[in-house]
Symmetry: C2
Subunit: 200 residues, 2 copies
DNA sequence: GCCTACTTGGCAGCGACTGCCAAGTAGGCG
DNA sequence: CGCCTACTTGGCAGTCGCTGCCAAGTAGGC
């Protein structure tokens, strides 16, 4: 098996197997969720149809929610990195917008994104988890936003948090409206409209 | 037992017993949550210490989350009613603010509110549920807000939703900041500061 | 060819939650 | 007063998400 010199997919066989299994599970899960709904699909069924044991499935993805996961951590990382890279004279809102645009580019395809967000809209428990994940992103972004807002003083933290929470609220509203319109139009146009409605 | 003419507590014995049991459970739950944390407290323990069977507890409160519940439905009702009662020349933000003030008045005591919100802040799963509940309130308020914002047209829905989501985001931020400061100061002052930071 | 390290699957168990069934108790009736 | 009905309660078994543990299999480096 050589020291791995070729420009093959990835390092070891294990890695490749893992990756393949991971994709298989993810695809099976999304398909079943779309077909029968999130709550109506048990993890046992996904495991069986994906050809792995339930135990192994839970080793790959810690929770059922994660099975929907379009790599949320990458989303958070790209978002934070992009916001951080904006030059100092860009105002907070523009910086956050840039980050969202960058993160938005991570979706595999419009169709898949639509499927996922539709599920998100229609399943209360998923919606809750999604919002909670958003909170963690906000925590990561907080220092960046605070710095960019300059003004210090007693309420600086609250003000920065409020701006962040509002941006996320607008993003959520935009995405949900986009789903309501069956993916017609652009999410960022809706986002801009939402922000304008709030700050206008 | 007469036809119940006296200005006693409530109608039948059953009702009174139910109410007493309900309070007992709620108090026990809050106490245990504060003492050992939400995730570390099992429903079985609450049931045992409250002197009811687990089955009965679940008949009173459908989920473990509800055990923290400072009557969320009343919160939603008061909020919606108050917003609806505002005269037509009051703008959206002021109307929402008035609703929040009214709903805020429902807390039994500052101390209990602080306990509950502290739990909310420190427990991810609770936080998620709380946010999700907020979404349902937003759905109830949507028609009221849309009407008050006048402007019709294609994006009216999204804009109204955005305003609502922002107001809730500011409320959440204000409350969490209030908890961070151990209950010093007024939540509504923080709320105003948050809104100003966003709309300024 | 062998030893090591990693991966896998099965099993038992926990906690939240539900349906079902049997027993107890309040309430209205004669 | 006693009785019948309606509501409430508790227990039991079972589902589902999730975890720890242990035994077996397989890739990787020597």
């Amino acid at each position: 098996m050589r020291r791995e010199g070729a420009a093959d997919s990835a390092g070891t066989l294990w890695d490749r197997t893992r990756q393949a299994a991971s994709r298989e599970i993810l695809e099976t899960a999304l398909r079943l969720f779309v077909e029968q709904g999130y709550d109506e699909t048990s993890v046992a069924q996904i495991a069986k149809e994906a050809g792995v044991s339930q135990r192994t499935l839970f080793r790959y993805f810690g929770t059922k929610e994660d099975l929907l996961g379009g790599n949320q951590e990458r989303f958070g990382r790209v978002l934070a990195d992009t916001v951080g890279e904006q030059s100092a004279d860009v105002d907070v809102w523009a910086a956050l917008r840039a980050g969202i645009v960058a993160a938005q580019g991570l979706h595999d395809s419009r169709e898949q994104a639509l499927d996922r967000f539709r599920l998100l809209r229609d399943t209360a428990s998923l919606r809750a988890g999604w919002l909670e994940k958003g909170l963690r992103f906000q925590d990561e972004l907080l220092p960046l936003v605070k710095a960019r807002m300059g003004a210090a003083g007693r309420g600086a933290d609250a003000r920065a948090r409020a701006v962040l929470a509002t941006a996320f609220a607008c993003l959520d509203t935009a995405v949900m409206t986009w789903v309501d319109r069956d993916g017609k139009g652009e999410v960022m146009d809706l986002y801009d409209e939402c922000v304008a409605a709030v700050r206008g």
